[in-house]
């Protein structure tokens, strides 16, 4: 058995191992076969060990603990061994108020309704991202995909918000949308309508203000990714189509957009997952609103799990959030990304 294998591109591990086993005696830095094997395993342990240990301790163990905590009534302060096992009651409380008639009404008003409100906000942001951010970013990218003066500077600046933290973006827009701030002043000067209840406080439009801020921060990323995709589309295709009399829009619709399809679909995937897990910015914007006008699942989880010390219930919300991302991710991969992956294999 070879210590090192040729990691052939495209070959599966089975094929590679077979090829290695059948091949001639390989070059090895070690004379004795057995010592070589022992030494190899020590090397593997030293190289992979720290990463695996860190990953198991600080990622897998906490995630598994979340699943376990979610089955208990626990405030996170007393010993976990004293916590009361309540089965799936935390999930029931989040989803429909719970199975205990004595506590059901209290949970409906203070936990179940805020939970579903938060889920609705996440879903709205997912839908708005696909309905508004995607076409907008695509149109901008297609327009900018040509030579024009100061092109690199424009791209650099448009992309810049991506590296600013959500905290900075959140504070900045919080000041701009202050009730006595510049946005209000501009709205009064130009007649642009302002939400009746306030930019953030309005129960209908507050979430739109948050969506606007999310878009400001992340639209540049989409534009830059699409432009990188467009730079890979062969120039000849577009020129040939133009010579054949295709209009600008026909070239985009028939050539450019289909060819950057994989990039668009991966962006959409990352955007959906990110929208479901949105936290930092919303938390900075008054923790999801004074009465949760734009709460998200993650901010709701922090409110109940950390500040109201209901770790069991918060963990159930975390698991639901994970399950939601997981189902969406699997469904998206099976339904939409599968085609791209098989395309890639043919390419490779």
């Amino acid at each position: 058995m070879t210590a090192l294998e040729a990691s052939g591109s495209g070959e599966g591990p089975v094929a590679a191992a077979k090829a290695a086993g059948a091949g001639p005696k390989p070059l090895s830095p070690y004379s004795s076969h057995r010592r070589d094997t022992a030494r190899k395993w020590i090397e593997i342990l030293v190289f992979v060990g720290p990463a695996v240990a860190l990953f198991l301790t600080f990622v897998i163990y906490p995630v598994a603990s979340a699943a376990r905590f979610s089955l208990y009534k626990w405030n996170g302060i007393k010993q976990f061994s004293e916590a009361e096992f309540i089965g799936f009651e935390n999930y029931a409380r989040a989803l429909w108020g719970g199975n205990d008639p004595a506590t059901k009404d209290a949970f409906m008003s203070s936990y179940t309704e805020p939970f579903w409100t938060a889920v609705g906000h996440n879903m709205l942001i997912v839908v708005l991202s696909m309905a508004i951010q995607l076409p907008l970013a695509l149109l901008v990218a297609l327009t900018l995909n040509r030579k024009f003066p100061m092109r690199n500077g424009v791209r650099l600046i448009i992309f810049a918000p991506y590296v600013l933290s959500e905290v900075i973006a959140g504070i900045m827009w919080l000041i701009i949308f202050d009730p006595n701030g510049i946005a209000t002043q501009l709205s009064e000067a130009t007649g642009f309508p302002k939400p009746a209840g306030g930019w953030f406080e309005d129960t209908t439009w507050g979430i739109w203000t948050v969506f606007f801020i999310v878009t400001w921060k992340y639209l540049g990323l989409a534009i830059i990714l699409f432009l990188a995709g467009l730079s890979g589309v062969p120039q000849e295709l577009q020129e040939a189509a133009s010579i054949d009399g295709a209009s600008w829009w026909q070239v985009q619709r028939r050539i450019n957009i289909p060819l950057i399809g994989p990039t668009i679909r991966i962006w959409a995937f990352l955007s959906i997952i990110g929208s479901i897990q949105l936290f930092d910015m919303v938390w900075v914007l008054n923790r999801g609103g004074t009465v949760g006008q734009y709460s998200t699942i993650a901010t709701f989880m922090m409110q109940v799990g950390y500040f109201r010390k209901d770790v069991g219930f918060g963990s159930a919300v975390a698991v639901i959030m994970f399950a939601l991302s997981f189902v969406v991710a699997i469904a998206y991969m099976l339904l939409i990304l599968r085609k791209d992956n098989s395309d890639n294999k043919v390419e490779a």
């Binding site: 210590a3 090192l4 990691s7 591109s9 591990p13 191992a17 070059l27 190899k40 090397e43 593997i44 190289f47 990463a51 860190l54 990953f55 600080f58 990622v59 897998i60 163990y61 906490p62 995630v63 979340a66 905590f69 996170g76 327009t143 900018l144 030579k147 024009f148 003066p149 424009v154 650099l156 600046i157 992309f159 810049a160 590296v163 933290s165 959500e166 905290v167 900075i168 504070i171 900045m172 000041i175 701009i176 202050d178 209000t184 002043q185 400001w216 830059i224 990714l225 995709g229 730079s231 991966i266 962006w267 990352l270 938390w283 900075v284 922090m302 799990g305 950390y306 770790v311 975390a318």
Partner: protein, 297 residues
């Protein structure tokens, strides 16, 4: 911001993106691109400049005319923050945490990717799959138990309590980016090294590390940005003394304490943007390469 072409040797993606020196066609499409590009620049820079300029005003000026320019320009906010020491402490904390996280991610991630890429052993694919599942577990899902774990390890309030979990959560994407990178190193190179008497560990140290540097820079840049901007974990861990906080948490704490002095918050937020923007200017190409690589890979 001219369109001078800088020759690039390491970034094939951006080479194709960059424009040649001349050859604009002055048709409607180019005009439209200029208009859209200009609008994008204004919408991006406008709020940032408003924040920076606002820091040069005082609260009376802001209340009297939110959209006005400073008259006169006041330096009190910026001077006050820069001479107080708190901002510098938080800047140092953020820098230490970001460098610690980046170093750990690059070191442990590359080390783990090496046997996963170039050794053949039982359980190799299982370990790789284990790391890929990590992509599905965001910090948000694990945060409540993670807080309990760090509390039992007595890491609350410590910067190590931030660095170690951040390394762990950045390992999956690092291993996923680095493994194909290391697999691509030619077999002949390895054989020649062994003939020359290098061990596998020697090969890693003398050949893999230098050759894998572009990949390591890419994953390092992504880890650095992630750490620099992190908010959720510091929010739980670094409660209490603002001197022990990182910048994002420091901003929101400053905001809470100076709620009536909005222009001071503007100055504080503006100052904390500067390191990220400088980093961005120098690393923009790496960031784009890393992101497009991650998206395509």
């Amino acid at each position: 911001m001219t369109i001078t072409e800088t020759p690039t040797e390491t970034a094939p993606v951006r080479d194709r993106v960059r424009a040649p020196k001349r050859g604009f066609q002055w048709d409607g499409g180019t005009i439209l691109a200029i208009v859209i590009g200009f609008a994008g620049v204004v919408l991006t820079l406008g709020p940032i400049l408003y924040l920076i300029i606002g820091g040069f005003r005082n609260q009376q000026q802001l209340s009297a005319d939110p959209a006005g320019l400073p008259s006169p320009w006041l330096f009190d906010n910026y001077v006050g923050i820069l001479s107080d020491g708190l901002f510098w402490r938080q800047l140092i904390n953020s820098t230490l945490v970001a460098f610690g996280t980046t170093a750990g991610v690059v070191l442990f991630g590359t080390m783990a990717a090496y046997p996963l890429a170039r050794y053949s052993f039982r359980g190799r694919e299982a370990i790789y799959v284990l790391f890929t599942t990590g992509l599905m577990f965001p910090l948000t899902v694990a945060i409540l138990p993670l807080y309990q774990l760090l509390k039992s390890l007595d890491l609350i309030g410590s910067l190590w309590g931030l660095v170690v979990p951040q390394i762990a959560f950045a390992l999956p994407i690092t291993v996923i980016i680095m493994r194909p990178f290391l697999q691509a190193l030619p077999k002949e190179l390895e054989e020649a090294s062994f003939v020359d008497g290098l061990t596998r560990v020697g090969f890693f140290y003398h050949m893999v590390l230098p050759l894998a540097r572009p990949g390591m820079v890419t994953v390092g840049v992504l880890a650095f940005i992630g750490s620099w901007n992190a908010y959720l974990l510091p929010l739980l861990l670094l409660t209490g003394d603002p001197k022990g906080m990182t910048l994002p948490l420091g901003i929101t704490t400053f905001q809470g304490q100076h709620a009536a002095d909005i222009t001071a918050i503007m100055a504080y937020t503006s100052l904390s943007m500067i390191p990220a923007l400088i980093f961005f200017l120098f690393m923009e190409r790496r960031i784009v390469d890393g992101l497009t690589g991650a998206v395509k890979g």
